[in-house]
Amino acid sequence: MGLSTALRNLSGRLAAPAARVPHVLLVVCPGATAVRLAAEVAVAGLGGRLADSPTEADVLLVAGEPSQEMRAATDVLWGQMPGPRVRAEATRPQDAEPVLRALLPVLTGRGQEAEATQRDDEWGRDEEEDGHGGVHEDNHGGHGGEQRSHGGHEGHGGHGDEQRSHDRHGDHGGQEDHDGGHEGHGGMQMPGGLMMADRAEDRDGLKLDVLHVPLGPVLPDWPAGLVVDTVLQGDVVQRAEGRVLPSAGPCPPPFWQNDDDHLVAPEARTAACHLDSLGRLLALAGWEDAAAGARRLRDRLLAGEPVDAVRADFGPWRRRVERSRTLRWATDGIGVLTPVDAARLGVSGPAVRARPPHDATARWLRWLTETEEALAGGKVPDGGPRGHTAPDGSPPSRGLLDVAVELAPGLELSAVRLLVASLDPDPDELAAAPEPGRAWEEAEKEPRQSRHDHGEHRGHEEHRGHGEGHGQGHGEGGHGGGGGER
């Protein structure tokens, strides 16, 4: 028996159990909160887990109907999944479970081999390279010529094999994003399509390199479709701009907003919303157990379980979270939002009612308090879990996103993630509402940006359109690794 046959048999034998714990990369479109919740339940029910990165995943599940930009980002992510891999979309909450169930057999099926051999991206090239004993650069460039015109690969061919070692420096993964999304930023074209890093002043007066890394639209425990374009020095965010990808077609009213025609009472829904936010924050703070507890309580509320029963279990869970000194230590001092700033940015809701020192810790403590109040049957203060509509007609999440973007510079990546999670702007609200121009943006943004912000949302997207999708995808995958366009 040849080695390859033996390997194939082994692969077949490994396949059956491998699908028992599928790692699912959940791509949530703005406006698809209901589908996301159903999908999370379904993944847990099937014994799977949510993947941190596309590299880890073997199932790509799109929740909701992706817009053009989301689809482009999803394709990039798909290209980054190693395989065996399967993908599907679930557009309605009730679809999530059957769709997932139907996917799993495909994951173990024979079709995977065929798909693997036909793949026409860097994975395919990889095998060829191995055969050639690592004449990487030349191969790469050659392929650029043969297959399609790889924009970045010109000027690459003459790059000798002996220079292989130098130009793969880690920092520059981000340059892929650069390549995709921010053309004309003024870097030098590099072999492999990578860009030379920009440099900018560090606070210590040093000139250090900066990377342009979009956070989102797909990241673990990240608001759906939100993109925060950051400029990173090391892991410190020097600049941030936020935007939300539009939803495909007309956006349904935000899932968490209180309207009367829903089976679950507004108070329970508000409590569930806060628990959802808390679950996200706790997961990012690395406390999986507490996060899972929040999500279980949330799902029970949304499943229509009597509020009193949930409340009985909420108490012990809350005390455990509240008493954790390490959790406080992790979130203390992040994103101080003074009442003055809150009023200026039009923020309302729990974020404003948080006590001094108004930091992330204060905000999650406030969520705990308000969840308890809502479960006790108290009236929801603003008509919505995130506050009321600002005087200029923008939804409460707009203010929250503005706060996050304004407070992010100077924070480390982990702090930025906790900051965004502690504010938890809801893209459902933002994708549904047109973006109004805001005072601080007018004053501070560079002309190019402010024009977009004033422009009609659609136009904005179209303008930066295609390249951006890739950029985001890379950002999500965390690198310029092998994006679909490469």
Binding site: G186, M190, E446
Partner: protein, 214 residues
């Protein structure tokens, strides 16, 4: 057996030392140097100087791990995305280093090495220490404690402000809340630099306005 092992280690040390100047990536250069030091440490083990050998490996790997971070951080060509030559002073350096290598090599061959008198001590490391330090041992031990305390104290004092001003959450209040805003302003300064699209990453960002967190 020992001689063969020594030869292998010597070759590894010299070749990886030379590789530092051949590779054009700072990460590879740094860890080539680390490998060179590890080979030197391992050859100390051959002399039965177990402690010195292992400590050499320990210190050098640690040093190189930190040096890699600093080199990449401070170089004008950060992270060395461009093919980066590790050579400076192309004519002088080879002459000097070649000369020194030859001189040391000649010394090895020309110096009349003493014959071993007596037997190998039970603990060669202790013997080496006493041969070098002799009666000053107690003083050296005391100095090392003082030095270490000084390093720790200096670090604690120097970093009380944290990396970017007040990262210590305790006692924040309204004062600190302005920190992020300053930061924001600074960010936009940098942004303005980008707006110029000066190209080639040479645009001069104005000095950041922040720095005073409070």
């Amino acid at each position: 057996m020992q001689i063969a092992l020594f030869c292998v280690l010597a070759v590894v040390a010299v070749v990886s030392g030379a590789a530092v100047f051949v590779v054009d990536s700072m990460a590879r250069a740094t860890y080539a140097l680390a490998l060179s030091f590890v080979a030197v440490g391992a050859s100390l083990l051959l002399l039965d100087l177990a402690y010195l050998g292992v400590v050499t490996i320990l210190m050098m790997v640690m040093e190189m791990a930190i040096m890699a971070v600093f080199m990449i951080m401070f170089m004008m060509n950060p992270a060395g995305l461009m093919p980066m030559s590790m050579l400076h002073n192309r004519r002088g350096a080879p002459a000097i280093s070649g000369g020194i290598f030859l001189a040391l090599g000649a010394l090895v061959l020309l110096v009349p090495w003493p014959e071993r008198r007596g037997t190998v001590p039970a603990d060669p490391t202790r013997a080496v220490g006493e041969a070098i330090m002799g009666s000053k041992m107690l003083v050296m031990i005391g100095v090392s404690a003082v030095l270490f305390t000084t390093i720790v104290a200096a670090l604690v004092l120097a970093t009380s402000r944290g990396r970017y001003g007040d990262d210590e959450p305790a006692g924040y209040g309204h004062g600190e809340s302005h920190g992020p805003h300053n930061g924001h302003g600074g960010g936009h300064d940098a942004h303005a630099g980008h707006g110029g699209h000066g190209g080639h990453g040479t645009h001069a960002a104005p000095p950041a306005a922040e720095g005073s967190g409070t």
